[in-house]
Symmetry: C4
Subunit: 256 residues, 4 copies
């Protein structure tokens, strides 16, 4: 495999879709939120992305079968009042090298733009390194109008106290260059465990922003399941990615 490629499983047309990205990162916050959304709202997988920029490995499932490093695109037909469809991107990994991250984010944006995407949300965690009493959700956005929109939903604005590293940041930045508006929502989390509370906090805010309903009753259950299913290797993997994409070792205030 020399190049990144997307395998389209179902030909679809979408209505002014909103793109939601939640690749693995800090506390698996974004991934947990998006996986729940896919399951709860019944999203359908329509494309798979494989890349030589992913880690050179496989994961082993519960039943002993191997699982490739993959990013997966789901679509969701409109059930919100605004009548718009969704594309949700989840997966078990991100690109490893800086150049790989740029290429992958470019390819992902090309792909979702071909379905008419002009708006996106990227979901992640914001590690604090210490226990959290009441999970806050922080936001950053491509433009000041979007920032105002986030404030209306009582999302705290993350001002100049750090960058957003990895796909959640880069998709937003490269999207901005293509006039795709968007926001990165970050749920506060102590750090390296599967954090259902942070995921729930993000989903609550996302439901407000998208004007849809997302039942989060089963989220803790899902978190528990995820904790069991996510192998040691995946956790090792995440640590490696965190190191690779450039985190400080002593400072956890960044996003994968």
């Amino acid at each position: 495999m020399k190049t990144t490629h997307i395998n389209v499983l179902e030909e679809i047309t979408l209505n002014n879709p909103i793109f939601i990205e939640a690749l693995p990162g800090i506390g698996h916050v974004g991934k947990l939120a998006a996986d729940h959304m896919i399951d709860e709202l019944g999203a359908t997988k329509f494309a798979e992305l494989y890349s030589p920029f992913f880690p050179p490995q496989v994961f082993v499932n519960e039943d002993g079968t191997v699982e490739n490093m993959i990013n997966e695109f789901y679509y969701l037909r409109a059930n919100g009042e605004n009548n718009r469809d969704y594309i949700i991107l989840v997966g078990n990994t991100q690109g490893l090298s800086p150049e790989g991250q740029y290429e992958l984010c470019g390819i992902i944006l090309d792909f979702v733009e071909s379905y008419g995407v002009k708006e996106m949300y990227t979901l992640g965690g914001l590690a604090t390194g210490h226990a959290i009493e009441k999970t806050r959700v922080f936001g950053a956005a491509t433009d000041i109008e979007f920032i105002e929109f986030l404030k209306e939903a009582e999302i705290e604005i993350r001002s100049a106290d750090g960058g957003i590293v990895g796909a959640s940041g880069l998709l937003l930045g490269l999207g901005k260059l293509r006039s795709i508006k968007g926001s990165c929502l970050m749920g506060e989390t102590p750090g390296y465990f599967i954090d259902a509370e942070a995921a729930e906090a993000i989903l609550e805010k996302l439901a407000i922003l998208l004007n849809i309903e997302i039942n989060t009753d089963k989220l803790e259950e899902r978190a528990e399941e995820t904790r069991k299913m996510i192998s040691k290797a995946q956790q090792m993997e995440q640590e490696m990615m965190n190191k690779t994409v450039g985190s400080g070792e002593d400072d956890l205030r960044y996003i994968g």
Copy 2:
């Protein structure tokens, strides 16, 4: 040398061949097993692979001559009841970078597929970091039918306790995308020494799975020889690869 290339030494046609990969990794388990198999069953080298993704160095042989970094393909005519031929891949190194691993595994699969390969075994070690009383062999596979087949041979199924890093994992994963079925067999080993017992354990299981006979009497002798022949540099090399392909520093439960 700008690109990976394969130098074919002998034009051959094979009968529904099974592909066996055993590039260097933890405890040289897979390599030792495959080298023994090649010697014991009289396999013939028919192709060599060189790559700019290998480490930029040579090894020095006992007699002072230098040896390039190389992967070598052997074929073995059918001697099992199932009447199928074999392609065995061995070598003194693996790709260093993630992108290199993806490109190399892709090229290797292209090559063996051109001989009709639809089934593969990748051989490796599973490091425990401590002494082992009775060597177990663990397996993972591309699909659930293959898992059942491994269970029949009393191979333990490795469920969700780690990824498989490097060629042994990636060949299996990328093979799965091409509908090549296969399994990774991992012999338990304390870690960084040439482990004849783990290699023997793997060969015993492989003989069952392939329905062939492999005499392992000379294996300890070969291990001793390998210990002498494998230079300090090669051991340094392995450590470097282990670091490069992303192992945790404190956790040895992964496969090279």
Copy 3:
């Protein structure tokens, strides 16, 4: 984004322009000096450069909006006696990998050469690792005539006590191969804080060399502002770059 590209915002023609580079480095000395110059002398942005060799991230501004990794070209119409125009390159990052640095510097030189550049100054800091009583400015140059010119301005010549790592050095070196004459000016600085004094020292020498006037009254104010605006992430970023482009860990005598 697979390749580095430059987005030209305004088509201009310049009169025998002098190129000034001040990408982020040690103590933000060069960047602070150039940002001040742009503001004080009223330079106009005319082109933006984006690259997959930049870190895969965005910065977050004071207002919560995201900012891409970017290099920016400004032009300044002649106000010195010598009647020559200027191109000033600033930005929030440099290339990460060695290959990336080479490609970016080549592209930058191609671009400024197309406007007729035959002379350049690269601005940076020279970290001492300890407090400084009176900031000295050191210089290196592409040729011995330029060295003499620097000496006339009482710039100390930096002889054989270290390399110049990163864009400030590489642009000079690659420029030399294209017959672009130039000098790297390095303001002594303790190291990792926003150093207005070093920037002022550089601007004083640059004003002499260019025969222009640059009011530095507001420089300390700007430094303070920069200290506030430059997020923790950017500082982390700089440390990462310093590590990546190859500094010694114990020796701070190099330039980013």
Copy 4:
């Protein structure tokens, strides 16, 4: 600069030339020996190689002028009895990344082959990490006949106690694939200082092998000069290369 390129300064034809490589490495042994040979025997520079795989930096000379990372080809007309010419490769750096080393060595071999090279010597140091009473010269070679030839010159054969990392090893290995015969000569050296004794020991053996005379009277003087001229940065550089091309941290028995 996107690609490695060679700038030919003088069109020449050579008589069955022998290629000698001595890029920087351990103790600057090979470089010191080759620089001495170039000066003592009056070799002429005829080509320069620049590459994006070199470190992204410049060195600063004694007079304050900057010096690009470079590899330089010299030729020397026959003065030995065997009537053969020489190509000598020296420089201030080697490729940084594994892929870069492969590409550079391939390009170098293409280039010298175009002058008819069928035989080569690569010169380096073999670090012991401790003081040496009588400097030994070790050799490795592409084939067993060459090993015998080395033995006749009382060069010790380096058997299986380590690899040869970097250009000195890789040129030999890749040369072997092209039927260029050759040897790597390694002068024992404590390690990280400019070692005139090791260089002298290598030159003595090389003079025997090439059947030429090389006066080494001025070698210590040159070593002293080199010690002064080689900046701190170059030494930092070398350390970085050593780390990059994969040495063990505690073991110095390898060659740059």
